[in-house]
Amino acid sequence: MNFAEIGLNVLVALSQLILFLLLAPLVTGWVRKVKAFMQNRSGPGVWQPYFDLVKLLRKEVVVSQTTSWIFTFTPYLVFTVMLAIGLLIPFYTSLVPLGFIGDAIAVIYLLALARFFTALAGLDAASAFGGLGSSREMSLAAIIEPAMMLAIFTVAVRAGSTSLSTIVQHSGAWDLLAPPHLLASIGFFIIVIAETGRIPVDNPATHLELTMIHEAMILEYSGRYLALIEWASSMKLLLFLTLLANIFLPGGIATQLTFGSIAISLGIFLLKVLVLATLVALVECSAAKLRLFRVPDLLAASFVLSLLALVLYFLLGGAGHAIL
């Protein structure tokens, strides 16, 4: 590898990171805007999340006296984990410069690391709400996480590797209507809804103790800590839409690092993310929030669909996770 290639790779990695960081609040804003439109409201502008973040960053932080270092450490860790994942997944080119460092399993476990600390932070303030949020989040994650793993394994077996960039490189030629792929995609869409805390699983817009999950965990946060967590949530939304767009609805991604192909690929990527974000907003508007103990049924459906897809691939064969 010569200097020009290294430089190019650094450039790709940096541009990916910056895009991930800066685009994320816009996606959140877009989902809110679409929701407002569907509810016949004008709603805040799509740039509102950015204003919110700036405002939060300027505000004073109030920290509970009962908390320990876990509470202050968590926002930084969550934000850092999201950024790290931004370096590991393919956005608009299948050549992820740092892809060798971590595959799909590593991404899922990094998300779990963030969740682990968020749940601890929820318990740290000694309020009943935080514990409630942590308990619910960890319980639902107990189904979400394996379901996500199985859905991704399905495509991984098809591509012959759990490496995300390999999966994306091979996904272009797939028949998207093959039953196992369809099952896994539906399973993963449910996971996207659940993981990003959207209706019918969770509602990011309310703070009602009967229903809230993620918001309850972070109830004690304020100021810059809240800003970091909110921003990380936006990045998580973008992350999951990206995974959905690039792995389960593949096509159009650049497999070479030329200016033209990247420009086209970037355009397609943005379009796909916007369409999927609209879809998420539509689901939010057309479904009612499920009762907490109905949610596991929905998640179990996703788990079973993904498992079925995986077993089908094992039986029918894919490109082969074979050694030869």
Binding site: L57, P75, Y76, L87, L120, L123, S135, F293
Partner: protein, 689 residues
């Protein structure tokens, strides 16, 4: 240069010396305790020195016991024991390494832990048993003769029984000990049967003779051997449904002993399985053996953690999680058995990957489970309770213990960049490699097993959020916590070094894989290290398109992007922080009663999986003036294990019934018993002659 064999002999001698000196000084318990643990520490260090060269490729060494031959010439009746010898090959060396690696920090921990037992029981006895326990484990994994193996296996079981019941003033401990000794002997009985079948075929108890006859065993004998080995060693391993003793016995022992029991003792069962399936029976492994073990291992992985999640007893929670982790280890082992049974060079490499996954997790579990047990021991020594519901807020009183327990919790939840992640990653990859197996039934079971493993991993995260969060964070829930202080420096350093080891094993996977490669090379006949180590920091799996993970890289990325996070946080802020009270829902003061309890925390999981838990609930409401005014509500929840209810209880009832019948011939008079013995002898002479 002094060779490895010398150090191995030295470590055996030191353990023995520790036991003997400890016993001699029993009238000076303090000194005896220190001497025996100091000798164990030295023995551990010398054990590490003796095992690493063999793991790195030095040829195996053989140790015979010289005076046994001489003695058998004088007294022919012990001719049977003449061939007792020890052999340290790569497999044995690996287990000696794991045992010694734990013995070092655990012995250091024991110095500070003395205070907990000083005024209660004879601490001299504890030191003696400690040394005997470790010695017996080392001998189990190096014995080269079935009879000798059985003797040291039994010594290990009995000594660990004494350790389980060491705190015998509590009835629950003696009950746990009884359950343990019964179950472990059921297991031993099957192991005895196993070796007898082999003896019948080979005509000798030597392992060497076993290897020779293994190739032409009749089918029935092979199937019997598999079933007996599975039950015998499965009992020790805590494989579901033979696990019932484990959650009672491990917590009952003193905490540093629990660390050794969960960390290494149950792994001697894995050693037994590996020795039998890959050393003796390897040429004709049957494919369904691995499949049966895979099924049971996956079941253990999920059920173990399901029961751990709802557990309130800190040490019992850890014990249940050992059942889960034994399941994960055996998933790797059983996959290696499935792959090995196809007998091609391609499958041999897959088997090597699967076996490395299993052994890696074995090493990791030994390390992080010891941190957790030692941490739990530190907590118990300060608060005198194992009940999580009575703890809370310990992170401020015991910051060092809390940090170590946190690292252990992250590692056991398989989160990067700690060691649990890398071995679970390998296990998942090994499961995906199962795609290559041609048999249909394997292709169905393998993804199911992956699903159960993923479910177990996610539940483990929930379980350890609960264990750490409820015990260490928020407000103290009872007066037990008020007087808690940080533990002594020996305990701190012991936990700290193990926690550091969690990180080291997590970020340097290729070094560990190289260490394990000799073991898998000897067992499955293929080396995977070359294809798994892309470069010193990147671990790869030889799948169709190569997949890699570089945990050090993950850790570094996290470190590199932290400044971005900090930069964002400090970008616009005035950086003012105000400390205030948590909002107490309008009440004047926040009280610990407002916090979430451990039971409350795991309640949703319990509801989601209620078909497995089958909880029994009782709610009693006392009313006063009218039925709308509740005076008191009593809520009782009990989770019964279906295995105990539907299998063990009927069996034990049956055994009791039989015993009641047999008791009629027991008069209590010694003359009658002598008569019985005489009659039995005569009958035997007539029959067998």
């Amino acid at each position: 240069m002094i060779d490895a064999q010398f150090f191995f002999g030295l470590s055996l001698f030191l353990y023995l010396a520790g036991a003997v000196l400890g016993a001699l000084w029993c009238l000076r318990p303090r000194r005896s305790y220190y001497v025996s643990h100091l000798l164990a520490l030295a023995a551990g260090i010398s054990g590490i020195t003796s095992s690493v060269p063999v793991l790195l490729g030095q040829s195996p060494y053989h140790i015979t016991i010289p005076w046994l031959t001489a003695l058998s010439n004088v007294a022919p009746s012990i001719k049977l024991f003449e061939n007792f010898s020890l052999q340290v090959d790569a497999l044995s060396a690996f287990f000696v390494f794991v045992i010694s690696l734990l013995v070092v920090p655990v012995s250091i921990y024991a110095f500070g832990y003395l205070r907990e037992y000083e005024h209660k029981q004879s601490v001299a006895l504890l030191g003696v048993l400690y040394n005997l326990f470790i010695l017996s484990m080392v001998l189990v994994v190096t014995a080269n003769n079935a009879l000798f193996f059985l003797i040291v296996w039994e010594v290990m079981s009995v000594v660990s029984y004494f350790l389980v019941t060491f705190d015998h003033e509590k009835t629950e401990n003696t009950q746990a000990g009884f359950l343990y000794i019964v179950m472990t002997h059921v297991g031993t009985a099957f192991i005895v049967l196993f070796f007898l079948i082999f003896y019948q075929q080979a005509g000798s108890f030597d392992f060497e003779a076993f290897r020779k006859v293994a190739a032409n065993l009749p089918d029935l004998a092979k199937t019997l051997l598999f079933v007996f080995a599975l039950i015998g060693f499965g009992t020790k391993a805590g494989l579901v449904p033979l696990h019932i003793w484990l959650p009672y016995a491990h917590p009952a022992a003193p905490s540093h002993i629990s660390a050794l029991m969960s960390g290494v003792m149950i792994k001697t069962a894995v050693y037994g399985m590996l020795r039998i399936f890959f050393d003796f029976l390897k040429p004709d492994l049957v494919w369904w053996w691995g499949l049966v073990l895979l099924g049971l291992a996956s079941l253990s992985a999920i059920l173990g953690i399901l029961y751990a999640v709802t557990e309130k007893d800190l040490k019992k929670l850890l014990a249940y999680s050992s059942v889960e982790n034994m399941g994960i280890i055996l998933i790797g082992v059983s996959l290696a058995m499935i792959f090995s049974s196809y007998q091609t060079s391609t499958f041999a490499i897959l088997a090597a990957v699967a076996l490395i996954a299993g052994l890696y997790h074995l090493l990791n579990h030994a390390v992080f489970k010891s941190v957790l047990f030692l941490g739990a021991g530190a907590v118990v020594s300060q608060t005198h309770t194992r009940n999580i519901e009575a703890l809370g807020g310990l992170i401020k009183k015991m910051p060092w213990t809390a940090a170590c327990f946190l690292i252990g919790s992250i590692a056991i939840s398989a989160l990067p960049p700690f060691n649990g992640f890398i071995s679970e990653w390998l296990t998942f990859q090994a499961l995906l490699l199962g795609f290559n197996v041609p048999d249909l039934i394997v292709k169905i079971i393998v993804p199911l097993s992956a699903a159960l493993l993923a479910l177990g991993a996610a539940l483990a995260t929930a379980c350890f959020v609960k264990a750490f969060g409820v015990s260490f964070l928020a407000l103290p829930r009872s007066e037990h916590v008020q007087t808690a202080q940080e533990v002594s420096s020996s305990m701190k350093w012991a936990m700290g070094s193990l926690a550091a080891l969690c990180l080291v094993l997590g970020i340097l996977p290729t070094a560990v894989v190289r260490l394990l490669d000799g073991v898998t090379g000897a067992l499955v006949g293929a080396s995977a290290a070359a294809s798994m180590g892309v470069n010193p920091l990147t671990l790869a799996v030889p799948s169709a398109k190569i997949v890699t993970v570089a945990p050090l890289g993950l850790a570094l990325i996290l470190l590199i992007v932290i400044p971005v996070a900090l930069g964002v946080a400090y970008m616009a802020g005035e950086l003012r922080t105000r400390r205030a009270q948590t909002w107490g829902c309008g009440l004047p003061k926040l009280s610990p009663r407002m916090e979430y309890t451990a039971t409350g925390f795991s309640k949703p999981i319990q509801l989601i999986f209620k078909s497995i838990y089958q909880p029994r609930k009782e709610i009693e409401i006392e009313t006063d003036v009218s039925s709308y005014v509740h005076k008191r509500i009593r809520y009782e929840l009990q989770i019964e294990s279906p295995f105990e209810k539907y299998f063990y209880q009927p069996v034990s009832a049956f055994v009791l019934k039989i015993s009641a019948i047999v008791r009629r011939i027991q008069t209590g008079s010694i003359n009658t018993y002598l008569a019985y013995i005489f009659i039995a002898l005569v009958i035997l002479l007539l029959l067998v002659r």
